[in-house]
Each structure stands twice: as structure tokens, then as C-alpha cells.
Assembly symmetry: C2
Homo-oligomer: 229 residues x 2
DNA sequence: TCAAAAGTGTTAGTGTTACACCCATGA
DNA sequence: TCATGGGTGTAACACTAACACTTTTGA
């Protein structure tokens, strides 16, 4: 019988915790919620949930992401498993995922429902358990990923200006980038389409909108392009 | 009561699977074992074990590594969690770790005990479940890590020659490296100590032994050195 | 003396960094 | 007209990649 081999093994609670990132006011933000119950009532935490018996861990993460943002089809990637015995109040193994969302699509009614808010990554409060560590590892991973994959666009709306795109990367890497070098590099890849419209919300002159052309990117990758910022 | 919150949640078997890597005959090898029981009797698999109730997932990995190699204090890093519902015969969530060992320290009696063997990474047989995927992800991760961290030395003995070190990196990246450029780069970092002794096992002239000086590396890192191959 | 692997520098080219001024616009 | 952020090119420098011959030694 198959089950015999597993019979005497311990079983564990397994959770997913999501580092949901958005971009607003030229800064990365993370969605955090105030814990509504004891113990640690009022402590800030990431968005999480338990993995169900007939659900893959990826599906669990997608479910949690949808539940707390109201957005489906979110870009996400696993950060890793966190399994210290005492990381939670009872023994729970948690698998962290980070997600990149267009903050404009966020269902703000959920913020009230879960007592959640978008916190600037530079001004995060202390989080419960090992959630601060999860965020730290995520930022690390994001910095490595964003340098070689065009995932940053997931944080922006369909149309965005180059100044906005640049400030996004500046926020990810926490450092200033030279305007001319940045433009040269991103435009040289030839994966953006310049639109006719301008965004005049942050200057009188206005900045042209651009659009990421995924099809072109995919095609160029086939031909050996290496995305790099 | 604390437990109330968790009460109705599902529990899961959680395993660790280890991608144990060694270097021999100028090639990366992975330790795999023949499954000694049905179903899938005789199928090749990675080294694994279940996570116990009062054991962190890292400790579980260390336990498994020691059990199958006879070596303590092994360099290891988590690859990630694998949690498809049907990845195993029953629902098991597995956390993969890769480990880099000095293959000379391997307790060969364990190879018989577990019907294990070191398989060349270029000639791996098909593995059971999602183990081949785990290896693929590991190789990816290793390539990224080895380029910026001096972890390759964990695969070698205390003393090694530059030709050996080079062939190690050639095996990791599956591509030839220019001898002169490689030496220039690695020696420029000034983290190796040249010894007086030569290894004459692979040439009449003999190649000088070198040693990685961890203390010096740590010190230089403080001063802003970036390891890079 | 020869075969076989170890060891050694230079150059061209590519990519990266640093840097300053004009433009368009609304108030 | 002026204040503000958007937009543009070039030159020095650093790094990378390409490349061939000499040395040592045991058989």
C-alpha cells in the first residue's frame, strides 16, 4: 500500500505569505494589514493564507493575491520557504511569494475590509514574525530580477512616461540613475513604443507616454536579446 | 485560545529534497539513488526526507545531507518549494536544497547502503517526480550564485590548482573559458594563496596548488570588493 | 627529444560612466 | 517671462574578449 511509507510522518500547517508590491508617488509600496485578532492584535503583517489540501502552493498564492487585491492574473514569483520551528505561534511552514501589481487596479474597498494599507518600502513598520525578513529577501530578489527581466512594467499602468519608469528603477535600487544613460539603455532595446499623448500631470512641458511591447520583447529574446538595466 | 485559528486548516506532509553536487573528473556530479521500494522501484531520485514536527526545514536538510553523505557542515542553500498537488504519489510539499560538497569526503559506504551513485550532470538519467525540474532550477541558481560568490571552492579540496578551478567553472557554465583571462580575473581579486607544492597528477610540469583565503576574502568584501567570475 | 599540460601580456573593441545645455509649456 | 521638469550627445575610461608562444618535466 502506498500510504504505508508516509504513515508515521508528521504533517504541518503550510501557509503562503505574499509581499504585494505597488508603485506610487515615485516609491515602491508594500501592502500590509493590521492583525485583527490576538495574539499580536494590531501588529502589521503581510497578506497570507493557508494552503488547502487539494491546492498547489502556487494556486494558494494566487487565491490570496486575488482575495486581498481584487486583481486576477498578477505577476508573482516564489521567494522561498520559511520554516523555523518558532517563526509563528504554532508550527507553520510558510512559502513567501512576491507580487507586482498596478496599484491603480487595487480594489480600495479591500483596504478597509482588511485594515490594510500601502506602506512605503523606505518606511515600513516592523512586521510580525519573520515577515520583515521575507520583505528583505524579496527586495534582494527583485533587484536581481528587475535588472535582467522586464518585470518592472507590471508595477505600472499600460502607459507610462520615461521619467516614471526611471523613478521606478531608482526606487527598486534605492539609488539615482543618470537620465541620459537610462534612456539610452532602455530605448536601445527597442521594446518600447512611443505614443503621441503626453502626461502633463507633473510638468508643464509634459512627458510622452510609452508602452511596453511584450510581443516585440518576446521576439527579440528569441533572437538573443538580453534585457538589462 | 491560540490554536482555534488554525484548527480547521489542512495539514501537509513536508519533505526536503537535496541536490548534492560534487566535482570529479572535470565535471559536476549529482548524487542520486535508486528507489528501493514500489511504486517506481528502481527509479532514480534525489536524496530526501520528511520534515519532523520539531525541526526547522534547514535542520531537516542538514540532517538529510549528513545522512546521505556522512559529511557535516555542508554548504547548502534553499532552491525553493515545490508544491503541485500531484508532484508525488500522495500530496507532499517538498523544499529543495542544493549542497556543494568535497566529493573526497563522501563516505562511499553510504553509496552501497542507499544504492546511490554520482552521476555526471551532463548525463543525468530521468529522475522521478519533479526531481529533474529541481535539478534544472538548481543549475540555474548555481550559475547565478557562482558568478558573484566564492561558493565554488566548496566543491574542491582545501588545495586545488588553477586548471582544476577553471574546469570547475567551465563545468558549471557548460562553456570553455580562456585560460589567461580566467587566471587574470581570479588572481586579481587577491583571495588565493599560491602554495609551493605542485600537483603532478595531470601533467609532467605540474600545476601549483592554491588555497582560498576566506579571511582575506571577508576582509576585502568589507572594503567593497565584488567577487566576480 | 618530444609530448603534454602549465604558465604568461598585449591589443582591439565594446560597454559604461560622467557630464551640461536647450526645449516646451502654463501660470 | 520665468520656473519647472523633459529631452538630448559626446568623450574618457574601464572592462572584456581575443589571441600564441615559452616553460617544465617525465617518459
Amino acid at each position: 500500500m502506498i500510504a504505508a511509507f508516509y504513515q508515521n510522518k508528521d504533517k504541518h500547517y503550510v501557509a503562503v505569505d505574499c509581499i504585494i508590491m505597488g508603485f506610487r508617488d515615485n516609491e515602491l509600496h508594500i501592502l500590509i494589514a493590521k492583525r485583527p485578532f490576538e495574539p499580536l492584535l494590531g501588529g502589521w503583517s503581510l497578506m497570507g493564507g493557508f494552503v488547502n489540501e487539494f491546492e498547489s502552493i502556487n494556486d494558494a498564492a494566487k487565491r490570496v493575491l486575488d482575495e486581498f487585491t481584487g486583481i486576477e492574473d498578477i505577476y508573482m514569483e516564489q521567494v522561498g520557504a520559511f520554516g523555523d520551528v518558532n517563526r509563528d505561534l504554532v508550527r507553520v511552514i510558510s512559502i513567501a511569494y512576491y507580487a507586482l501589481v498596478d496599484i491603480e487596479k487595487f480594489d480600495t474597498s479591500l483596504a478597509e475590509k482588511y485594515d490594510a494599507r500601502w506602506a512605503k518600502i523606505t518606511q515600513l513598520p516592523e512586521l510580525i514574525f519573520d515577515h520583515s525578513l521575507m520583505v528583505k529577501n524579496t527586495l534582494n530578489l527583485l533587484q536581481r530580477r528587475a535588472a535582467v527581466k522586464p518585470i518592472g512594467f507590471n508595477l505600472l499602468q499600460e502607459q507610462f512616461t520615461l521619467p516614471t519608469l526611471q523613478s521606478l528603477y531608482e526606487s527598486i535600487y534605492q539609488e539615482a540613475i543618470d537620465k541620459r544613460n537610462f534612456r539610452k539603455k532602455i530605448l536601445a532595446m527597442d521594446i518600447l513604443e512611443k505614443l503621441d499623448e503626453k502626461d502633463k500631470s507633473s510638468s508643464r512641458k509634459g512627458a510622452f507616454y510609452y508602452r511596453f511591447i511584450k510581443e516585440k520583447y518576446d521576439q527579440l529574446i528569441q533572437q538573443g536579446l538580453h534585457f538589462s538595466i
